[in-house]
Symmetry: C4
Subunit: 459 residues, 4 copies
């Protein structure tokens, strides 16, 4: 499932495909709800399982009833999995054939799921009348296998753009840390609890009659030791007193070294990712600003430069052009048609053109944003582009949306006669002169239409 | 405000737009001063608020008077905000309509600002005659909401190129750390102060009669415990003695794990950013040096290579070409015109050209730096470029600023007749041969002028 | 050996070259096995050497016998090395000349290998009758030189793509950490063991009669102190009691600072490397999704965009195009011929072409994947490419593998007459129109064949 | 000086410029030696200064004599600086005008240098008869200003490619750490030494009569406390006992938080830099290997691909092409001429060409490495390039260095008639067909020479 990028998008993809009777789609909202419900049960299991391991003998028996109820839910899930379609990794199609579903499940995770659900404790109780031996305790640890549900959830959340990556990742790391603290705290308590001489244990040395205190005090003390060790604070008020505890402490500290490195590594990764935008912005503005002051550019030029760069960074979050460039030609064309065809169609210069020709023009145009008060065309510039206003306005002759400029220079092959400057935030379509000529050249008729349109306006 | 990149530039943009009467611009220097004054008050509030929380009963009553004075300043700020224009995120224009300002403020932060300013303590004092209950203490914590002013300030400073990014970021992280240390120190003291048995508290176990010591000793001890825990030093001379303290310790250590990771992540980010220039420089020099020694290049060639690379790295900080490439054509053209038109106009080869043509030539030129004693043209080289000296000097015939070279090869289409070498740091404009011909070709007249200019010199 | 990238590939390269008699190839599987056997011995040496250093007087004498046996294996390896060919770094050829092998070995590592194998202890035993002096102990530390075998192994494993980079690196760091802990634990015990006043040592202060305890207790205590210090937990139950121990502690803590930084640095590096794919995927999907919602694109367009991007990321792991681009033309051509020639040969349009011409067409084609339900050609689009289906299917006229589409538009130079959409995951070869014409233009005959093929189908 | 990249290169640049009389060049080897001698004195000062600060009253008086001798050396350096030329940051020329040197020094660092050298202690001794007051102690701390010499040294070493970046950087960080440990250890001892009640100090609580112990014990204990705190081990055997020590501890721990983050950040940076090559290699090999296995390429093709990639990575360290691309055309041309002219001149095809023409051909050629047994030309391939062997050999007709192949296809415009394969590691010059024709086309005569050369060989 970790390879499966397609179904976990926040961007909704339509998955309503008809499946066989009695087969559930993995994208069914009700199945999704069931999965979320299981996650809650898994979290409870993850907490109670080490806790029972350490404090079983002090727990009320109702807790075992709860355990069995939860177990039964997981048993239902095992049965249900035989009726849930899956996505084939080669054809990317949903498989709803019951036999293939069963073969796939039985050959992968079934055995683990079954073992983690089997009620060893209840059975041992019927046989022995008690269930406190270490062997059965260890069997109950198998329930932690269920945590793979949580792992899958996080793998999915990380790829889901509806959730913030930083916080998803932090939550995951926080959960892992908490679980490690809880487990090791409980395990360390169990070592003390089973040690023959209670005075010579890490907890007994500080709270001599610790077994008589209530559960809360003992649990908090265990967690306190655990977190003191994990964060490497190590006050030393609680510390290993015998060899067993030392061995456990050695293992836990080695694990902690890895865990803290991993936490720091992840945080660094997130910080680097999070600040890259601001750093790029600073570097670019600084370079532009230095360039301006070094060359003693006049004030209005510097302002044009800086506001253009600011705008680019604001809209870079959008990454419009890059997104389009990554797509194949057909999709790009259909997007361009959808967005710009209605505007280009109404431009006076292209009146009388065939649908075909305007379509080809539209697919070659590039959309750009200009900040207020920026020059789009300078007087006397060589004519390289034709511009069509999508939204906003420019000053020369107060052109607004849907109007064209720069066409005289391009068509008459003369340097641009006017300076054109924006008055507000303006979106402009730009068409390369060479491309325009290549397209129009295809038929002599179209070239005539363009020129007659041009002269009609000026006469 | 975190999305608003435009107004926070160190590079000054002209914001003097006329607003309605009684409406203040957010860029008004006096308003900026008021904001800075508020930041000072916020810092005081952030320090006093946890301090009062822990040590209130030992504080003189004058401190409450100060609190109320500060509160009144923030009340003024709330009223003032209704008269401050804001930048609309769609049109990038300042909005000075009082109704829209009010709607925006009331629908966003007004309620938080109001709550954090409301004098709960004074009111409770009138009702109860005392104000020491925990409930009112917690209400006074609402004042910490004001810290968002500091957060906005740092977000703005990070984007302001007048301030060093490294030190801005370090100051921010240092402030966050200090605040965390102060808060947790105070809170931990409060737990000890309210515990029924003073001997069984973290401070009482070491200083048995701690309540009789002066405030300074108790505050320093609290901060000492706090920082010992945060840095994970954990001497253990001060440590949790009861369950309450353990629970607080657990929370604080978990928080610390996140905070230290975040600090390290940020520092790594800054270090990587800061050393990238030197590392690139080393790698490039090393590659060039190895290339030279592997191919046994003669000494003078190696020196030319290395000094060219050094110069490029020195001027790369300027990032001239990249800055220009990111700008739209019109701005680029106007910068080129401003910088190079006066020089190109005086070149003998272009005497008699129209303004129009020189303008087009100028916009196509590229500026480059050459270190002293570097070859610009080699004898017998194919003629690809024309060069104009902006500053500095080259040896062949002792050419200096404003003179042209390489033109004979380019115009007569023969291999370059001389080697041209710089004598000092030289800035040169380079013009591609093909571009030159494309521009001149537009009218037969200009081509004749160029050739006659060329022959005039040589005859 | 650290520069030698070639022989350590997981991708098997054929190394069966005939060598001189009595000379072994370094790629011989039996020699590889011998090397692996030595690694096991090295690991044992690395563990026993510091252990003997600290606890020698308490160890049974059989351990020295084991030492001598291991030493003899390393002596055999020294002799063997004179008969193993090596790869010359200039010609990349295996050198099997005995003289050159001997010269190379004697001038590099022979002296170290010899010293680390020489049985100083046994000799000292014959001379003095005992071998417990510190001088001979230090000589036995020379055996740690053998660890360079492990270092070479890891350097090779890191470059071997059959092993996961993350886990190889983690194992290496874990081994280094364990070795540091073991060494410093043993060394610190030795300091205590040799201190005149056993009560005033780090271990004696806690276990007064520590010399009477069994080896296990003392070793675990030493390791416990060592790891407590390395992870900076520092409980303080065991700490330096005299100046000697303080000096050792100072050195060890300084070393630890470096080691932990190195661990964290490596982990960060691995985390950054490991999450880059997911982060890129998120950023791209987010940009596309925002683009669609901002421009209010219709549902079906958004779906086409997103599924195309998802597919690209799934197949990006393959990096097909990049891999091909990095190769020289001849290899690229032979791969293209191998993969696509059989398909292109059967296309009706190219029936009657010479082998030569189809070969040239094939080398210019680009392979691409399209997800199900994506448009490949839009009606009225300008004809830029010709497409051949390699696998999968498209809807117009239910074309399947081996069929061509888009050819009418390209050859008749008219806008594409139909929309073509995929029905399932489809691999398509794309041929640029200009390239096609350039290749066909070479002979008039081929152009005629193509057109007649085209008309045959449509008539 | 931190901006000055030019003079600090490991790659030697010729700086032997004649200066005025009595003015020393900063690149003079004798001056360099003097600077290195000063660095040694600075290191001694950095160690002795905090040590005297803490332990002055226990030190023999000869140490003050040494101090004064060292001071006099620094006084000499101040005088000397007035006679050392400097590099102007604008013109990059050495300035040897005494007046400008003096102005520059007096306006920048002179005042700091003077203060740090002025013998306050000796003077105070003459006035008061003793020099143990805290004020004079603080004045002597001014000597630490001299550390800027060390800082400049490291800044220079980092940019010097003769020194390994990793170890330079590690040494710098290690020195900073050691200095921090030494300073804080001494300072903390001084606090204890001056505290009225010796029993209630951090050292007195553990060693009650610490003032009677010898200097070594006290110094080691102070350093031990310092390093225990810096590495956040914090055993707790030595800890603050009074408010003064707590305040110092708070400051030191805050500083440590920054220092450890900085150390980790630097280490991460170095690790990322160091492993990037191996990671790229792995990723590329993996992509190629997967590509081959997915497409079931025959064994010999896979081997060609992999050995080509391996070779590219081996020679990528050289970064030949990138280095050349970054240089301006004149340098590139002169390198190409130097390296390849002798070979190309002897090629039979170009016999009879003018120097001029061969020069132009040479500057357009690209050098490439091919591993053994790789195809350079495939039979039937379109003729795109001409190849000249620089070193190594290829199989077809056993061509060796100086011979040309692929010329028949290129000149006769037919597909390549033979497959050409390398037999050993081969360096080849590649010339694009279009470029060749563009250069030859310049004169009809050359084209005739080429064709007659070609036919001479084949007839």
């Amino acid at each position: 499932m970790h390879n499966d990028l397609l179904p976990s998008l926040g961007a909704t993809i339509n998955h309503t495909i008809k499946l066989r009777k009695h087969i559930v789609s993995p994208y069914d909202p009700r199945y999704r709800l069931w999965e979320k419900f299981l996650i809650v049960l898994v979290l409870y299991s993850a907490w109670i399982c080490p806790f029972e391991f350490a404090f079983r003998r002090y727990l009320p028996s109702t807790i075992f009833l709860v355990d069995n109820i939860i177990n039964s839910f997981f048993a239902i899930d095992i049965v249900l999995t035989f009726f849930v379609a899956f996505v084939d990794h080669k054809s990317y199609l949903l498989v709803d054939e019951p036999k293939r579903i069963a073969v796939r499940y039985l050959s992968t995770w079934f055995i683990f799921d079954a073992c983690s659900t089997f009620p060893f404790q209840t059975i041992s109780f019927f046989f022995n009348g008690h269930s406190k031996s270490l062997g059965f305790k260890l069997l109950s640890v198998l329930r932690l296998w269920r945590l793979h549900h949580v792992n899958s959830l996080f793998a999915r959340l990380e790829k889901d753009i509806r959730f913030n990556y930083f916080w998803t990742r932090c939550t995951k790391l926080f959960s892992v840390t908490l679980f490690a603290v809880h487990c090791s705290g409980c395990f360390n308590y169990m070592i003390a609890d089973r040690y023959p001489d209670p005075e010579r244990t890490w907890i007994g040395a500080v709270i001599p009659n610790f077994m008589e205190h209530n559960l809360w005090v003992r649990y908090v003390t265990a967690i306190y030791w655990s977190i003191t060790t994990l964060t490497t604070t190590g006050y030393g008020d609680l510390h290993a007193e015998n060899t067993r505890e030392m061995v456990f402490g050695i293992c836990y500290m080695l694990f902690n070294l890895g865990l803290t490195s991993y936490l720091i590594g992840n945080m660094t990764n997130l910080v680097v990712h999070g600040t890259s935008h601001t750093k790029n912005f600073r570097d670019t503005i600084q370079a532009a600003s230095e360039f301006a002051s070094r060359n003693k550019l006049p004030k209005h030029m510097e302002e044009q430069m800086l506001s253009h760069i600011c705008l680019r960074f604001k809209t870079e979050g959008l990454k419009q052009q890059e997104t389009l460039d990554g797509l194949p030609k057909a999709i790009r064309s259909s997007i361009a048609e959808y967005l710009f065809f209605p505007i280009v169609q109404k431009v006076y210069l292209f009146q009388g053109f065939s649908f075909n020709l305007i379509f080809q023009l539209v697919t070659e145009m590039q959309a750009e944003y200009y900040p207020p008060k920026e020059d789009v065309i300078l007087q006397n510039e060589a004519p390289a582009y034709l511009y069509i206003i999508v939204s906003g306005a420019v000053v020369h002759g107060r052109l607004t949306a849907g109007e064209i400029f720069g066409e005289i220079g391009v068509l008459c092959n003369m340097s641009q006669p006017f300076t054109i400057r924006t008055t507000e935030l303006t979106q402009i379509l730009r068409l390369n002169r060479t491309t325009l000529f290549n397209i129009i050249r295809q038929s002599r008729q179209d070239a005539t239409i363009v020129m007659s349109n041009l002269f009609q306006v000026f006469n």
